[in-house]
Amino acid sequence: MKQEHFMALYGKEWDTLQAWLDRVELRNREAMRSPQALEFPAAYRRLCHHLALARARGYSREITDRLQNIVQQGHRLLYRPPAPRWHRVAMFLVADFPRLVRAQWRCVGLAAVLLYVPLLLCLVLVQWKPELAHSVFGSTQLAEFEKMYDPANPSIGRSSGTDLAMFGHYVMNNISIAFRTFASGLLLGVGAIYVMTMNGIIIGSLAGHLTGMGFGHPFWRFVVGHSSFELTAIVIAGGAGLRLGLTLLAPGRQRRGPAMVAAGWIGAQLALGAFAMLLVAAFIEAFWSSIAGLPDLVKFGSGGLLWLFVLTWLCRGGAEPRQLEPPWDELGRNDGA
């Protein structure tokens, strides 16, 4: 078939498709309701067929470039991402995220060790040798902390600011740290290891110092509420970073490229889960932990319940109901006998 003939036969069809695609880019909703939308996949496939024919027959660039442009435009529309569904978000939080944390228990566990071992070590060491706190914090910092957790302070845990202001501050600060922890795992995991260990040392020394000087009661009252969400989320973000770093070091039975893509996918999901947890933690920290007037039972009781909730959620969320022992097959029984 001559090129002119080919164009005369199908030119009108290409023009219609092109016009509809242009309309979709301008007025998406209206164009998608038109009857042409139903015919689009078939029309697009025909166009691809025409492009392949035009190339195989060696038609000039006038025609192949024109078809190529329409194909690229159509490809973007046909393969566009589906609209997000809130159901998916809920499913992620209830089931997929805890499952993912359990699947990545090695990295998350390692991150937990990197946080909690320095934390407990510093907590004990500072009780034993109180002057060690001064090698972690400057004296102005220590004075600030002492003012924050002074039993005489009406809103414990902060030096100034209203609930809402502190909520914004916690969100910006803590979640940015979590995201950076994940990202810095790319530096062979060094970033994640550093963040986890430093946080362990700082939290442990602070807790040890305040407990040692008798401000322990307001301090533990303050942190017991949000620590469940906050510490666990930081551990998970650290685990996500370690996942990236360890995959870069030892990709296992995969090439490094695809292994890193898979690790990035897993890590980003963990980071998003940690983001949701830190949002909750910031809410609790700003609006609940700072209330000074509640009795100890309520404070520590609610804190304990939250810890129980977080651990149950992560350990059991999305778990398959436990199945009965599968019946032994014939071969196995005979083998045993």
């Binding site: 691809c48 492009l51 060696g58 000039s60 660039r61 690229q72 490809h75 973007r76 530096l187």
Partner: protein
């Protein structure tokens, strides 16, 4: 060929051509985004300032969203384009040329923290210079790339001459060479043009300036001009 065009075969059996965007237009797009975000932040802080300390809290939330989620939301909802990328004619796509989805966008924008590292995008710049498709680390791990939205110039820059049919039927790549030559000859010195067109002496039967003109006339015919 030494080229930044990446070709992908789609399920329909045709090839997509993606033109990777280098560091400079991307840096410009990022600067535009930065200016927009700064303007939005300051614009929102003016009314929030009247709310006192609580306003500062909301301001911090605005800052947080602008920092981490502005690029993700823009890329997913506006066809892979933040406002800066749209202004510069760039687009983020998945490695297989399909429009970007949520998780790859989250990965590439969270890993921005590493690409930014020493000073202003040091790691990212080195990565874009090394990678054949100018991807920064975040792009490599997310499996995405940034491309130019404008299509390849398809003969529109060929100088206009009366079309002349080539004496032989040319293969597709041979046609492409002639059209590319005609498109770029404005950027070459006359001496270089003639040096190149003299190589096709057997086809045109002419040398020197006449040979160049003959090739441009063929190109005009190939792209369908009268």
């Amino acid at each position: 060929m030494l080229d930044t065009v990446r070709q992908f075969e789609t399920p329909e059996g045709v090839f997509l051509r993606l033109r990777a965007a280098g560091a400079l237009p991307r840096a410009q797009a990022w600067s535009i985004d930065l200016a927009i975000r700064a303007a939005v932040f300051w614009g929102s802080m003016i009314p929030l300032a009247f709310l006192g300390a609580g306003g500062m809290g909301i301001g911090a939330l605005v800052m947080f969203v602008l920092t981490w989620f502005y690029p993700v939301v823009c890329e997913v909802y506006f066809h892979g384009q933040t406002l800066g990328k749209r202004a510069m004619g760039l687009r983020v796509v998945n490695a297989d040329g399909t429009p970007i989805t949520w998780m790859p966008s989250v990965v590439r924008n969270l890993l921005r923290a590493v690409d930014m590292l020493p000073g202003v995008y040091g790691v990212g710049l080195v990565s874009t210079l090394i990678d054949p498709y100018a991807r920064r680390l975040g792009d490599i791990i997310a499996g995405t790339m940034v491309i130019h939205t404008s299509e390849l110039p398809s003969g529109s820059q060929v100088p206009v001459l009366a079309a002349h049919r080539p004496p032989l039927d040319l293969a597709t790549d041979e046609q492409a060479v002639i059209v590319d030559f005609a498109e770029r000859c404005a950027q070459l010195t006359p001496q270089r043009q003639q040096e190149l067109s003299n190589l096709l002496d057997p086809l045109t039967g002419q040398t020197g300036e006449a040979g160049t003109r003959q090739l441009v006339a063929y190109a005009n015919w190939l792209i369908g001009r009268p």
